[in-house]
Subunit: 117 residues, 2 copies
């Protein structure tokens, strides 16, 4: 039950595509992540996918369109919609997903869910 | 399925303590709100309460302590915990709550839930 300073949490790690849980909200993990380059195409059968850009420019490609997000912009990928995040330069994001959701949409290839104290 | 620019949404209204839903995430409303002054003491029996400060300085008083949040800082008030948000000057917030949650913890006194298109 502490406040979370997102910049301080992001300063604690440097690897990409490896979300860190900073707190929980109901049954969801609230996470920060650094991303750069292209992620895998994936979807989540059981949950929407919440992205809020804190720093940098993120593209979220979908099969029929793409959205471009800068700082202070958010996008919710609806459940079941295939998407591929892409960042030319490093981007810092706030993510929210139900606890246990594999980041690739597939538990076999997902990054382990790690917590920052 | 559009991106949400939080500053643009906040520029669309000026009243205080009247959250506007900007999108939904699973069964939750994602809202922006402007606050100033003191809100009522309240709690939510069935949900945690997610606050992310976008602009300004927010105090969240609880019965045994208080937290002070600035831009880029978030706090989750656990389910059932009495709290009173307070802002000396206007603060802009991102809030997330299950759809239908009364902002005062009591449907009789809650602000109507409004949506920004």
């Amino acid at each position: 039950m502490e406040k979370i300073n997102l910049s301080e949490k992001l300063a604690l790690f440097s690897d990409h595509w490896a979300p860190r849980t900073v707190t929980q909200f109901n049954d969801c993990d609230v996470m920060v992540v650094k991303v750069k380059g292209e992620f895998v195409w994936h979807h989540h059968d059981d949950t929407d996918d919440f992205f809020l850009v804190l720093q940098g420019q993120l593209t979220i490609r979908m099969r029929d369109r793409e959205v471009h997000l800068g700082p202070g912009e958010l996008f919710v990928v609806p459940k079941g919609v295939e998407h591929q995040p892409f960042a030319e330069e490093e981007v810092h994001l706030l993510l929210i997903e139900p606890t246990g959701t594999p980041n690739t949409g597939d538990a076999r290839t997902a990054a382990p869910r790690r917590t920052l104290s």
